[in-house]
């Protein structure tokens, strides 16, 4: 047991040096190559978390993904925090981003409350189940399934198409009964666009899986929400993206309560992560105005691919099989 703890200390030390190398290589090149017994001041990890989540916030905006989907695999893969706390923090990161964006998206009539409400009812109920299952399963199983999910997200990002204004003959009976419809102004076309949705039942069923995964892994679910709302249900892309972001404020709320009630919230992780992601997002939006970073999307896909493999590798450690 004592050997295990010493081994873990050494691993943490090397990870720390790796992160320091990324942040400031001179600190590492100047260091002794042996592994001294050192203790770090308490503020080191929150500070590194702040810097890394700041960079993550920039990359997330430029890569067109939510912060949550980057946060959980990267922080759980390369930081010393247990996956339980990483998932709790990841949910709060995604939740805060959605809460911050929600009022503006609603007032601009881009996020549709009528589209979000039935979908949110399914997704948030299943997010509760997902969070409960996620906190009850052994950690290595969660690492393995998280890794598989992240690799699945990579496939979705590589293959998913988008449709600005999907073709639709008529709304289905359920969406008609619920009056899920709207009008928004599209400046690029200089006209008002009336939209409606179809395939509402299959759409709602999809959110059983999406909600469950959001709660289980603490991921935001924009990567899945947008294709379902846009390609399956036929909402315009702009409405789908905005409604998806708003939807996270409801889905992640339900799962966040489960993690909070289980005590899986450590303020020293949550607050630096929130500040980092938010500041990074502000800077990312400014960069986005002047740059068209197509390669960033490929970089995000590459990072997620590596983080997915890392999560699988961590899960396999339980079976004494590891490859990263």
């Amino acid at each position: 047991m004592d050997f295990f703890f010493r081994l873990q200390d050494h691993c943490l030390h090397y990870r720390f040096l790796l992160i320091l190398f990324v942040l400031n290589p001179s600190l590492v090149f100047g260091a002794d190559t042996s592994v001294p017994e050192i203790t770090y001041p308490w503020w080191i990890w929150p500070l590194i978390l702040l810097v890394v989540t700041f960079l993550m916030g920039i990359v997330a905006v430029l890569g067109g993904v939510g912060g949550g989907v980057l946060f959980v695999p990267i922080i759980s893969g390369f930081f010393p925090f247990h996956l339980d706390f990483v998932r709790g923090t990841g949910l709060l990161v995604a939740l805060s981003g959605a809460l911050a964006a929600g009022p503006g998206l609603l007032k601009a009539n881009l996020a549709s409350l009528r589209l979000a409400m039935p979908v949110a009812l399914i997704a948030s109920s299943m997010a509760i189940v997902g969070a409960m299952v996620g906190l009850a399963l052994p950690t290595h199983i969660i690492h393995l399934s998280l890794g598989g999910t992240i690799l699945g997200i990579v496939v979705i990002m590589l293959s998913a198409r988008k449709s600005e204004l999907p073709n639709m003959d008529q709304a289905d009976s359920l969406s008609t009964a619920l009056r899920i419809t709207g009008i928004y102004h599209e400046p690029s076309m200089k006209r008002d666009i009336a939209w409606k949705v179809h395939r509402t039942w299959p759409g709602l069923f999809s959110f059983i899986i999406i909600g469950f995964m959001a709660g289980m892994f603490g991921l935001g679910a924009g990567w899945a929400n947008v294709p379902v709302l846009n390609l399956l249900m036929g909402a315009p892309l702009k409405i789908s993206v905005a409604t998806s972001k708003f939807l996270l404020s409801i889905t992640d709320t339900s799962a966040a309560w489960i993690y909070l009630n289980k005590g899986a919230v450590i303020p020293l992780m949550v607050v630096p992560s929130l500040i980092g992601i938010m500041l990074g997002s502000f800077v990312g939006v400014r960069i986005l105005r002047v740059a068209k970073p197509a390669f960033i999307r490929w970089m995000v896909i590459g990072i997620l691919f590596f983080a997915g493999l890392k999560a699988i590798s961590k899960g396999l450690e339980y079976y004494s099989l590891t490859f990263l």
């Binding site: 052994p138 102004h185 009630n261 289980k262």
Partner: protein, 146 residues
């Protein structure tokens, strides 16, 4: 239509207003309570210099150890028991997290009466069901362990 805002429904404006106020209050409170915590204005339950020996454990083990070393309660602090620890810097930070997690429940409760008045029964029922589900999640009745 010159801009999108002309077509925003009454409940969307109400929802957005409550969400906006709750979100800003929660974020502001989060910064304040965090500063009180890290600058030692309020003593934490788990000393700052010891926290890194706790956060690499599963949440259940973490709570058991925190309870054993610092609290000495009959049960580890789960559910709403953090309320009893609000005088400590670390647990005070649960307050803004709860506000941010709870604002959506308020938003739903605010829009339900108007929807019933406008005879939008289906959507009103969905909103009411959503509020009840979120309240159930918030209640702590669904907490399970490893």
């Amino acid at each position: 239509m010159k801009n999108n805002q002309q077509n925003v429904s009454e409940e969307m404006i109400l929802y957005a207003g409550v969400l906006e106020r709750g979100m800003y209050t929660g974020l502001l409170l989060m910064f304040v309570t965090f500063l009180l915590y890290i600058f030692g204005v309020l003593e934490p339950v788990v000393p700052l210099e010891r926290i890194d020996s706790f956060w690499n454990q599963p949440v259940h083990d973490y709570l058991v150890q925190v309870n054993r070393e610092f609290l000495g309660w009959d049960e580890p602090p789960i559910g709403w028991s953090w309320v009893k620890l609000l005088g400590y810097g670390d647990f005070l930070n649960f307050l803004p997290v709860v506000l941010l997690s709870g604002v959506t429940i308020l938003c739903y409760l605010f829009i339900v009466p108007g929807m019933f008045q406008r005879k939008d029964y289906w959507m009103a029922s969905i909103a009411l069901a959503e509020a009840l589900i979120l309240i159930l999640a918030a209640s702590g009745l669904l907490a399970v362990g490893h």
